[in-house]
C-alpha cells in the first residue's frame, strides 16, 4: 500500500512538471464553464446548477481520456516501465497508483468548475445534494477511467492522443453536456441516451435537481462500463503478454 502511495506521489509530481497536461485538464472544463455556462445560465439557479453538473462530467471525461489514454500509451513506450517491472513488486503498485493519480486529477479538474459556479453563477446546492452529487461522480468516473485505460493500453501514444482528442467533443456534445438536458437540439436528443456521458450526467443532474433519470441512459451507462472494462482488461493483458512474457 505504501508503495502504491510512493508511486502515486511521484507520478503526480511527474504530471505536474509537464504543465501542458495539467493545463489541458484544467483549462477545457473551466473554459467551457466560463464561455458556455456563465453567459447563458448564470442568473437561473436551477439552470446554473444543472449546467455545472454537466461541466463536472465533462471535466471527468476529458481528464480520464487524456490522463489514461495518452498517459498510459506514452508510458508504455518508455524503457523505464520495463525497469520498474524488474523491481521486486511487479506491475501492481504502479497500476494502482495510476488509477489513484487519475482520480486525483479528476478532482483537480472538477474543483475550478465548482469554484466558477460558486463565484460567478447562482448555482446552489444543499449539503445533502452535494454529497449525492459526489456519489454520482464516483460512479461516473468508472466508465471513463476504463475507457481511457482501454485506449491507453491498446494504442501507440500518438494514436491514443488522437483518439482521445477526437472522441471528447462528440461525447460532450452528443451526450448533451453543452445544452439544456431537457431540451436537446435535433438528433442529439436521439443519440444522447446511447452515450456514456449522458448516463453519467443524468446521475449527477438527478443528484443536484429534480431531474429524473432515463432508464435507457442507465442501461447504456452500464453497458458502456462493462464494455470499456472488458476492453481495458483485454488490452492490458495483451500488452503484458506482448511486452512481458
Amino acid at each position: 500500500m505504501s508503495l502504491t502511495l510512493t508511486h502515486a506521489r511521484y507520478q503526480f509530481v511527474e504530471t505536474l512538471r509537464i504543465p501542458v497536461a495539467v493545463i489541458a485538464t484544467v483549462f477545457f472544463p473551466a473554459a467551457s464553464m466560463l464561455f458556455f455556462v456563465v453567459p447563458n445560465a448564470a442568473d437561473d439557479p436551477r439552470a446554473a446548477t444543472v449546467a455545472t453538473a454537466s461541466m463536472v462530467v465533462f471535466a471527468t471525461m476529458v481528464t480520464c481520456l487524456f490522463q489514461y489514454g495518452s498517459g498510459v500509451a506514452e508510458d508504455r513506450a518508455l524503457p523505464w516501465e520495463s525497469f520498474v517491472r524488474t523491481l521486486p513488486t511487479g506491475a501492481g503498485p504502479r497500476f494502482a497508483a495510476r488509477v489513484l493519480v487519475g482520480t486525483a486529477f479528476v478532482l483537480v479538474a472538477v474543483v475550478p468548475v465548482v469554484l466558477i459556479a460558486v463565484l460567478f453563477t447562482e448555482a446552489t446546492l444543499t449539503p445533502a445534494r452535494f454529497l449525492a452529487a459526489l456519489g454520482g461522480l464516483v460512479v461516473a468516473v468508472v466508465p471513463f477511467t476504463l475507457l481511457g485505460l482501454a485506449i491507453g493500453y491498446s494504442l501507440p501514444a500518438k494514436a491514443a492522443t488522437a483518439v482521445a482528442t477526437i472522441s471528447f467533443l462528440p461525447l460532450a456534445f452528443g451526450g448533451g453536456l453543452m445544452g439544456d438536458p431537457e431540451d436537446l437540439p435535433g438528433f442529439i436528443d436521439t443519440i444522447a441516451p446511447f452515450l456514456p456521458t449522458r448516463g453519467a450526467a443524468e446521475l449527477i443532474w438527478a443528484a443536484v435537481s429534480d431531474f429524473t433519470v432515463d432508464p435507457l441512459s442507465m442501461v447504456m451507462l452500464a453497458v458502456w462500463t462493462v464494455a470499456a472494462g472488458g476492453a481495458a482488461v483485454f488490452a492490458y493483458r495483451r500488452d503484458e503478454g506482448r511486452r512481458f512474457s
Binding site: S2, L3, T6, H7, Y10, V13, E14, R17, I18, L78, P79, W80, E81, S82, F83, R85, T86, L87, P88, T89, G90, F244, S245
Partner: protein, 296 residues
C-alpha cells in the same frame, strides 16, 4: 555442491520465427563475475530478460536461487541495468533513487549510492537534464540500490568515456569484492577481459564456449606474429594477414613456433619480430566467424 545463485536449464526463447535462445544451460555460482560475450542479436539480452523476470522462456526454466524470477519476491536479491537506459525524465535524480529504494527492505542510502557512482551533486537535477553518461551511471547505480546479491548489467558502460568507464568498473569490482555476483554483457571486449573471471560466448542463441577468461583466450590457440618486412613467402598455418601503415605485417596463426621456424628458414629479411597472445577480441572473432578456416 556449488552454491548456485542463478541458473538456466534447457532454456529456449523464440520471437515469432526468430530463435533468440536455443537450449541454453548456464549455472552461475554465487560470487562469480561472468561476462556474456557475443555479437548483436546473439541472445545475450534475451537471456538477461529471462533472468530478471521480464520474459518467460518458451522451453526450459530459469531460476534465481531456485525460484522463478517471474515471481516478484524472487527479485528481492536482484539488481538490473537494462541495455536501454530508462529513467523518469521529469523526476529528479534523488527522487528516482528514492522511488527505486522504496521497493527494498534495506536499501543503500542515496548519498552513499551517488558517491559510489560519481553522481554526488546531481541529486536535484531532473533525469531529463542529465548528460548521456550521467544517465547511464544512474541506470547502473539503480541496479545496486537494493543491496542485491546478484546484478545483471546489460552493456553497462555503453556511451561512457574512458574515465567514467573505469570508475564504473571500480564500482563493479567493489561489489564483486564484497561477495556480489555479477552477470554483464558488453560490446567492449576489453571490459569483459578486465572484469570477468568467466566468459560465456553466445552466438545464434547458443552457448558456444564457456570458460575462464584465460581459457577462452587459449581456446582460439592463436598468436599474433608481427614483423617488419617488405615481402613474405607463403607461410604455414596463417589464419589472416594484415599489413599496417607502418609497414608491419601481422599474422594470426595457431602455431607460432612453426611459423617463425619457416620464416627464418626462408631467408627473407625481416626485423622487429614480435609474438603475442591474442586478445579476447581476436578469440571472440575467431569463435563467432562462421567461415573461420582454422577452427572449423
Amino acid at each position: 555442491m556449488t552454491d548456485l545463485i542463478a541458473r538456466a536449464v534447457g532454456v529456449s526463447r523464440r520471437y515469432g520465427d526468430v530463435v533468440a535462445l536455443d537450449q541454453v544451460d548456464l549455472d552461475i555460482p554465487r560470487g562469480q563475475l561472468v561476462g556474456l560475450l557475443g555479437p548483436n542479436g546473439a541472445g545475450k539480452s534475451t537471456l538477461i530478460n529471462l533472468f530478471v523476470g521480464l520474459r518467460r522462456p518458451d522451453d526450459g526454466r530459469v531460476e534465481i536461487r531456485g525460484a522463478d524470477p517471474m515471481t516478484p519476491a524472487t527479485r528481492r536479491i536482484l539488481g538490473v541495468t537494462p541495455q536501454e537506459t530508462g529513467l523518469p525524465l521529469s523526476l529528479r535524480v534523488g527522487e528516482t533513487a528514492n522511488l527505486v529504494s522504496a521497493h527494498f527492505v534495506n536499501p543503500v542510502p542515496p548519498d552513499e549510492l551517488f558517491a559510489r557512482f560519481g553522481l554526488t551533486g546531481l541529486e536535484g537535477r531532473q533525469c531529463g537534464a542529465l548528460s548521456g553518461g550521467q544517465r547511464r551511471r544512474l541506470a547502473v547505480a539503480l541496479a545496486f540500490a537494493g543491496r542485491p546479491e546478484i546484478v545483471f548489467l546489460d552493456e553497462p558502460t555503453t556511451g561512457l568515456d574512458v574515465d567514467a568507464r573505469h570508475q564504473l568498473w571500480d564500482g563493479i569490482r567493489a561489489f564483486h569484492g564484497e561477495g556480489g555476483t555479477v552477470v554483464l554483457t558488453s560490446h567492449y571486449l576489453e571490459e569483459v577481459e578486465a572484469l570477468a573471471e568467466r566468459v560465456v560466448v553466445i552466438d545464434h542463441g547458443r552457448v558456444i564456449r564457456d570458460g575462464s577468461t584465460a581459457e577462452i583466450r587459449d581456446v582460439a590457440g592463436m598468436r599474433r606474429v608481427s614483423v617488419a618486412a617488405a615481402d613474405l613467402p607463403e607461410l604455414p598455418g596463417v589464419v589472416s594477414t594484415d599489413r599496417d601503415d607502418a609497414g608491419r605485417v601481422h599474422l594470426m596463426t595457431t602455431d607460432a613456433d612453426q611459423l617463425v621456424r619457416t620464416l627464418v628458414a626462408s631467408g627473407v629479411p625481416f626485423r622487429g619480430l614480435e609474438v603475442r597472445s591474442t586478445s579476447l577480441e581476436d578469440a571472440f572473432l575467431a569463435l563467432t566467424t562462421d567461415d573461420h578456416r582454422s577452427l572449423a
